[in-house]
């Protein structure tokens, strides 16, 4: 009996002190809620103004990756950003969250240094791994917002809109959905609209490595599908489940990017080309 108690105590202690498994989250709620964060993100956006990428050719490319889960060095995500910088048609890269894999500042500092490589911008949003334990403070410190837009102005006068969302809590929340509806009301001002969010809307295939990973409540899921369809969104890019997946619902393509963490044998990222149409393809790293 004494031995069993000791073993159980040791297991409990190990789990509680583990910096990769957020045991307490299984039993009670801690950390910030989506609503609070979105208010902060939108306040930051208002204070710092709209993101505009100007002087872009009519046909250009954007590199998208996700779930980098930095533990060792940042070689993989740095390679994506460097390839984007070297591509004459590419204008910026996007990281769809899950920068971290455990607690601490290091992954965010690394990601920030990668984002500053070369001359092009790297836009980042957060994933669920970036807000548990003490990670959120570092995300805020380095990246400041996860609910924002980027307007691309082409030399020919066309405008494309990129909308980035915070789904770190596997939901977008009331405030953010209201903001998204408001943004998409101006859909007709833009040639293309691309939406990026971390949490994949669908749970359509087996992936034992991420089996416990959740996604949106169904009411919200259906509302988003409807909103994307009605707003004629050109492309929705997502991450979270660590594999490639594509869907076409209504006229809207939904594409899940692969993951880039070191445990992945065949990592890949997404290259999106915007011109008269929006095309995408997966590129092996």
């Amino acid at each position: 009996m004494k031995a069993k108690t000791l073993i159980l105590s040791a297991i409990a202690l190990a789990l509680c002190s583990c910096n990769r498994l957020d045991v307490k989250g299984m039993f009670w709620s801690s950390g910030s809620h989506t609503e609070e964060r979105v208010e902060d993100w939108l306040a930051w956006d208002k204070e710092h103004g709209e993101n505009i990428v100007a002087g872009v050719p009519e046909r250009y490319r954007v590199y998208v990756c996700s779930d980098i889960h930095l533990e060792g060095d940042a070689t993989r995500v740095a390679t994506v950003v460097e390839r984007e910088n070297a591509d004459p048609l590419a204008r910026f890269s996007i990281v769809l969250g899950d920068i971290a894999n455990e607690s601490g500042e290091r992954p965010f500092r690394l990601m920030d240094s990668v984002a500053r490589l070369g001359g092009d911008t790297c836009f980042v949003i957060l994933g669920n791994h970036d807000i548990y334990f003490d990670c959120e403070q570092y995300y805020r410190q380095y990246f400041h917002t996860s609910t924002y837009t980027v307007t691309v102005q082409t030399v020919g006068g066309a405008k494309d809109l990129f909308v980035f969302l915070d789904s770190g809590n596997a939901t977008h929340g009331k405030r953010q959905l209201a903001w998204l509806r408001e943004v998409l009301q101006h859909r007709s001002d833009y040639r293309h609209v691309v939406v990026g969010t971390h949490t994949c809307l669908f749970r359509t295939s087996y992936n034992y490595g991420t089996t416990p990973a959740a996604n949106l409540p169904e009411d919200e899921y259906y509302e988003l599908l409807r909103l994307m369809d009605e707003s004629d969104v050109s492309l929705v890019v997502m991450g979270h489940f660590h594999h490639k997946e594509e869907h076409q619902i209504g006229g809207v393509p939904y594409v899940m990017t692969d993951n880039l963490n070191e445990e992945k044998d065949t990592p890949s990222y997404l290259v999106v080309t915007l011109g008269d149409d929006v095309d995408y393809k997966y590129e092996e790293l």
Partner: protein, 265 residues
């Protein structure tokens, strides 16, 4: 004549279970607040029909609260089979109906039961033109102080209106694991007093939500008389490890009653 009908229903249920190997959706009626309408001895176990109704309120911090109600009924076809059906309405403009059956595979002399539940759920979101169909198969084991369930469910959703342009507008979400672990203070069949229990699970009485959105709850019932009881359940959804289930972070409550109908057998 009655026996033939029962045999037909039993055969249909066997086919359902055999072919689809499916769900618990209906079985949930059987499980509401730990009730025992199936052929296990006790005050609730000997009548052929049971009607269950409850109201609910489900609050998530990140979305609006949802209220609603459900009405369900089950019919004990034979000593080993039970069929049921139910409807649900939620204030998020969601309506649902379900149909299912439960087969008792094994009953021990101590009242322990091994069951297989098979159910089908249809949900419709009129304002969003979305419909979904879920099937589930669940194995259950019930003893005096414990009630355990483990199963799989498949969901197929269809955005019918959106099929007219572009893709099919349909999504298949297969093989979600569902589970329930319940501990009860007293025997489920104890009459004329409160019985209370605790539950750890990732699906509610009516609907299998997405995997991993588990919750903890306290539940109980009070037996008013021979055929009527009051049911209650209050629970919380934690954010989950790594915030994985944070979309459902919040709390919920169910309040309802159930009534046994028909002559005791």
């Amino acid at each position: 004549m009655m026996n033939i009908k029962k045999q037909i229903f039993a055969a249909l249920l066997m086919i359902m279970v055999g072919i689809h190997g499916s769900t618990p959706l209906w079985g949930q009626v059987e499980e509401v607040q730990g009730s025992t309408s199936l052929p296990i001895e006790g005050v609730h176990g000997s009548t052929p029909i049971r009607v269950v109704g409850y109201g609910f309120y489900d609050y998530h911090y990140a979305t609006d609260g949802v209220g609603g109600g459900a009405l369900m009924a089950d019919w004990r076809v034979s000593q080993t089979f039970s069929l049921g059906a139910g409807v649900e309405y939620a204030s998020s403009n969601r309506i649902a109906a379900k149909l299912g059956g439960m087969a008792t595979l094994l009953t021990t002399s101590k009242g322990q039961r091994l069951t297989l539940e098979n159910g089908y759920l249809w949900r419709h979101y009129p304002s969003l033109d979305q419909q979904e169909f879920t099937s589930a198969l669940q194995l259950g084991w019930r003893a005096r102080h414990a009630d355990l369930h483990l199963g799989l469910c498949n969901r197929y959703s269809a955005a019918l209106v959106q099929r007219t342009e572009g893709g099919m507008g349909t999504v298949f979400e297969p093989m979600n694991v569902m589970f329930a672990i319940e501990g009860w203070w007293n025997n489920h069949t104890q009459p004329q007093q409160w019985n209370v229990g605790v539950r750890w699970s990732n699906y509610n009485d009516f609907v299998v939500e997405r995997v991993a959105n588990w919750f903890f709850s306290a539940k109980g019932y009070y037996t008013l008389n021979d055929g009527t009881r009051l049911n209650a359940e209050v629970g919380v959804h934690p954010v989950g490890s790594l915030n994985l289930t944070a979309s459902y972070d919040g709390w919920f409550m169910h309040l309802g009653a159930e009534r046994k109908l028909g002559k005791k057998q």
